[in-house]
Structures are given as structure tokens and as C-alpha cells.
């Protein structure tokens, strides 16, 4: 089992009123950046890097980062810079980028160069995930959302070719044209750094990932739906002639541990602020998914997929209707003492059977102090126990069995 640590690196020094005052009441895209205090921002970046640095000592196999734009919910607007720092200040853990939003790039060659540098500086520890980005990423970079998937696939093909084909070569695509592709620095890992794809289960991406043998990382999706989506992946894999195993799947899960259940339950409520922002004010649908961002066929399939799971109390997103206790009860968020957390993780792993477990240890208003205690307890009790559970359940990660 491959265990990685994640936080979205939230900025929380603003109020619900501030959000409601922004254009279309949105915490992302249009939330005015005058609410960003650079002095606090400087502290936060350093604090978050300190936490990740400590995670090596905690025993995590990977340090997972993500990227979003125009939002206080995630300070990783230039994730590759954080990754480059971690590449230098840590020695062992993989640096897992989930991921770089490909469609918003006009120059994917530059990305291939940045990632190669991270791989070289880290001496081959990069895991290079790619994403389509939310609609916000398209808005923030003025990328036409109707080309999102085309650009994702073409930029991916170009980056992989840049890493694997001796240059110089020429690329004349629909969205990208380069006449001399020949970056001098190639990545250390051969044929190229591993690619993992995170998502919430868009059928087209699942099938695409399966065809490429790329592990798919479910971002805290409904457990029952996750099992169904895995069948989609398996089917697409069978069509290209292989049978996936746990090494092909990951699951990202909000897991916060404290000395007692009570303390964890209280501190864990900070997750509620996480990627929803202070006040959990609903965002305009066309900000997250502008027209054309999802294909109509894809939208239909994902709705069909989720049809049976759209019970508010079962969904983390339904927390406002269901309440915190229901969310905790249904294990969509795991909080508790080490003992409680280990038991709940085991229950989840039995159903989901991922070879990669992403532990989203803290977010939103969970304090640095509580986070450090959480990581300490993970080091002492949770990680060793989950490693054993992984062995017991036969859940190899992608570095044990090739996906």
C-alpha cells in the first residue's frame, strides 16, 4: 500500500460576508484578492511546507499536492514551485502532483521542462498527475472550455512524447504547434515519471486512464459509486488486454486523528471550510462547469452513475442538509482517536481496495498545531497499522506491482 499525505493549503482569513459580497457570491474566481494578506500568506506557505517536510519523518510514502486558481481554498496556484522545494528539502517520499491542469496551458513543453527539473532535483521521485482542472481553471486562464478534453489529451500526448522521443522533433496538432521540440533536460525516471490521474469519476477520463495503464485516484467519491466506476475502468482495461488490480486505484480521504474521539470530532469540523470556503456558500454552476466543459454524453453518464447515490446524507457535499454527525457516521470524513481511525480506514479499504491511500489530514480551519499533533499520531500509530492492513488485505501500490 502506498500512503500519501494531502492538504489543499487553505487560506481562511475572510468571512462569509466577504464571500457573499463577491460577484455572484463566489468564493472562487471572482472572490476579490484584496482579502489576501501577503504577510499572512508568507507565513502560511512556509507553515505548509514545514508540515510536508515533517511528513517524511512521519513515514508517508508520498507528498501529494494539487493546483487551483483564483481561490482562497487552495494556495497551490503554482504547485510545481512547491514541488520543486519539496524535491530539494526531502529525501525519500515521492512528490505526487495531482495534478497539473493540462488544458489551460498554451505551452505544454514548458511543463515538460518544469517536471523534468523536479524529477532531476528529487532524484527520480516525481509522480506526475494530470487533470482537466475545474471550470474555474478555464475561466482564470481564459481557456475555451469547449476544448478542455481535446487540449487535455493533446497536451498529454505532447508532454509524454517530449519526454520519450529523441529530439528535435516537430509537433503540428490541432491545439498545439511546435516546430523544434527539443528540451535539453530529460527526466531521470525512464521511460518517464509515473502518471496518475485524479478525478471524481468522469467516465471518459476513467476509460482513458485505463487504456493508458494510469492509476486513477478517486477524490473522496461516494464509496458505492466508486465500486461501479472501478468496473468501468476494469472494462476499458480488459479491452486493451489487461486486468487491473489495487495498484491501478487510489482513494483520497479526509482523515483527521487526535488523542481522543471528542477532540478529533471537534477539530475535524474545520474540514467543512476546506474546498467549500468559509460559509460554504454554493458556487455558480457555470463557474465550476462552464458550457462545453463537460461533453453532453459525459454529463449524462456521470449523472446516471450517481443516480443512486444522490442522497444528501450520504454525500459529503450534502453536509449542510445532513449535518456533520451524518457525514462522520457515513465515514465520508474519518475523524477520531488512532484506534477509531484505524478501524474506520480498514472498513473502507475492504470495500474500495485501493493500492494508493491519500490521507487528507487537514484543511480549512484546522489549525497548524492540531495538524502537527495529527501527523505525530499518524507516525506513532496510524501509518504502521494501515501498512499492515494493506498487506493483510493484499493491496499492493503501483511501486510494488506495475499498474
Amino acid at each position: 500500500m502506498f500512503i500519501m499525505r494531502f492538504t489543499e493549503r487553505a487560506y481562511v482569513a475572510y468571512t462569509e460576508e466577504d464571500v457573499r459580497g463577491s460577484f455572484r457570491n463566489s468564493v472562487r474566481l471572482t472572490f476579490p484578492n484584496r482579502y489576501f494578506d501577503p504577510a499572512l500568506g508568507a507565513d502560511l506557505y512556509n507553515e505548509y511546507l514545514d508540515e510536508y517536510e515533517f511528513c517524511e519523518e512521519v513515514g508517508f510514502d508520498g507528498l501529494m499536492l494539487n493546483e487551483h486558481h483564483n481561490t482562497p481554498t487552495c494556495l497551490g496556484a503554482a504547485m510545481n514551485l512547491e514541488a520543486a522545494i519539496l524535491a530539494r528539502i526531502t529525501k525519500k517520499p515521492k512528490i505526487v502532483l495531482l495534478g497539473n491542469p493540462l488544458p489551460i496551458l498554451d505551452n505544454p513543453i514548458r511543463l515538460a521542462e518544469e517536471l523534468a527539473e523536479i524529477d532531476l532535483i528529487s532524484r527520480g521521485r516525481l509522480v506526475s498527475g494530470f487533470v482537466r482542472g475545474t471550470g474555474i481553471e478555464s475561466w482564470a486562464t481564459n481557456t475555451n472550455p469547449v476544448h478542455n478534453r481535446e487540449r487535455f489529451e493533446e497536451a498529454h500526448d505532447l508532454v509524454i512524447k517530449t519526454w520519450t522521443t529523441p529530439g528535435p522533433f516537430r509537433w503540428e496538432g490541432k491545439h498545439y504547434q511546435f516546430r523544434v521540440v527539443n528540451p535539453f533536460e530529460r527526466p531521470l525516471q525512464a521511460p518517464h515519471p509515473p502518471v496518475w490521474i485524479p478525478g471524481i469519476g468522469s467516465p471518459e477520463t476513467l476509460e482513458w486512464s485505463a487504456r493508458h495503464h494510469y492509476p486513477y485516484i478517486y477524490l473522496e467519491t461516494d464509496p458505492q459509486v466508486t465500486v461501479q466506476m472501478t468496473e468501468l475502468y476494469n472494462k476499458a482495461a480488459a479491452e486493451v488486454g489487461y486486468r487491473p488490480g489495487p495498484q491501478n486505484f487510489g482513494y483520497l480521504w479526509r482523515i483527521h486523528v487526535q488523542d481522543t474521539d471528542e477532540k478529533a470530532n471537534e477539530a475535524g469540523k474545520g474540514f467543512l471550510i476546506g474546498n467549500a470556503g468559509i460559509g460554504r456558500v454554493p458556487m455558480p454552476g457555470d463557474f465550476m462547469a462552464p458550457a462545453g466543459y463537460n461533453s453532453r454524453e459525459g454529463s449524462r453518464r456521470i449523472l446516471e452513475q450517481y443516480k443512486h447515490a444522490l442522497k444528501p446524507d450520504a454525500l459529503y457535499g450534502g453536509v449542510d442538509a445532513a449535518g456533520w454527525d451524518a457525514v462522520v457516521e457515513s465515514n465520508r470524513v474519518v475523524v477520531g482517536s488512532p484506534k477509531t481511525v484505524i478501524r474506520k480506514i480498514k472498513e473502507g479499504l475492504e470495500v474500495l481496495r485501493p493500492g494508493i491511500l491519500g490521507m487528507w489530514t487537514n484543511d480549512g480551519t484546522i489549525t497548524h498545531k492540531d495538524t502537527m499533533r495529527c501527523l505525530e499520531l499518524m507516525k506513532q500509530e496510524v501509518i504502521p497499522a494501515v501498512k499492515e492492513i494493506g498487506k493483510e488485505l493484499g493491496l499492493p501500490g503501483p511501486f510494488e506491482v506495475a499498474p
Partner: protein, 265 residues
Amino acid sequence: MATSNYQERELTVDGARVRYCRGGVGPPLIALHSVEGHLGWLPLYTELAHDFTVYAPIHPGFAGSDRPGWLESLVDLSRFYLWIVQELGIGKATLLGHGMGGWIAAEMAVMAPSAVNRLILISAVGVRPRKGEITDIFLHGADGSRRLSFVDTKQVADYELLFGRKSSVEDREAQLINREAATRYCWKPYMHDPALPHLLPRLRDVPTLIACGRDDQIVPGECGELYHAGIPGSRLEVIDRAGHFPHLERPVEFMRGLRSFLNLR
């Protein structure tokens, strides 16, 4: 012939099925719709059908018409429209366009001035204002931009029918398709073609009417002025108490100006 009668027809160009409404008698006039999509056979078309054969096509990519896979931009769309006109075999036509449809009409005209009899631009986008901005309808969302489109929706006959909340799955699907098509053609550069103003002097022999609502909160009046300044001999009509849809909000005043321009009775 009863001029309010029209027929729904289609033709296939480059494998793409393009649907259109046709009605009336006389020389051809092509009415090009805005980002809202095809709103049906408008009263304006019935009026014009007394003196013209009116063609009201659904733009390729909008709900009802196919888009050839290669067609990605508004300039592509305008070139394709010249092909459609060629296939219709109607010769030199009068082009009337609203909003994005006005932009298409202007592009077609500067590409092939000799194919255009007269040009009528209603609240047209396509040129970048220097002082103001064309409102970002995508950022405002469908409801938000509609709220900005009218001075008073009560001035619009059949407002509910045309713009009310759609209840059927098909209608909502059509709105989504229209929004997607508008996004494809108008996202970037947003609602304009940097080259277009430089080409407008080509239209010196194309009689042109530029009509806009005085209180248009989507397209600033400056756009109408830029078209007017760019097209030699063009006429500018600014209609009071009208927003982005002057032909729907102030139909009588709008028709008065249009009739005068077309030398109709």
C-alpha cells in the same frame, strides 16, 4: 400569399444539416440570430416577408443545426455561411443580424462585399470598444445576462414564450447546446475580431443600417458608433427605451427606422 406563413426547411452543406425557416416573397434577406439561438419566426420576419423572401437559419452548432467538425471560430462560421448562401442559390442577399448574428453578417460582408446587397446590424458585437467593454455574458450567466438585456421586459410581446424558464427536457437541452455553441465561437477573443474594424471600409458600396438600443447594457453604444465610423455612408439609429433587443422591445420605432432605410412604404 399570406406572408406570416413560413416553412421549415433544411439543406446539407459539407455533410452538415442546416435548418432554416423561409417565408415571404421578394429579394432574399437572411436573418442571423444572436447567442440566444433561434427564437422562431419573429414578428419582425413577418413584417419583412411582405417585401422579402426571409431566410432565418439556425447557426451550425446551435440547437437544430449540425456543425462540421472543422468549424471552430466565428470567422470559420462566417466563411461557412457564405457557402450556405451559395448552396441556397439565392444570389446577392440582404443580411440582417442581431448581436452575434450582426457580427457574422459584418464578417460575411467584409469577406465578400459583392455578395451582400444591404447590411443591417442590430446591437452587433464584433468590434472591441475602446472606452467601455462588452458585458461578459458567460461570467454573468444566462439569467444574469438576460436581466441586463432589457429596459423593461413588459415591452416585449411574448417575453415569457421567448425567454421564460424552459420546462421541457428538450428545451433545456437546446439552451445548453446554444450556450456551448456561443462559447465555442465567442469566448476568445471575447465577442470581437481585432481585424474586423480595419476591413469595414471595404463596405463603402454596401448600404448599411446600424441599429442599437440607447440603454443596451450588453453591448455599449460605442460599438454601434465604431461600425458607423468604419462603414462609409452607413446610417446609425439609436432607439430610445430599448436595451439589447431593440427590435423586440420597441418594434414600432425599430421598424420605422428599418423601413426608411429599406425605402419601404
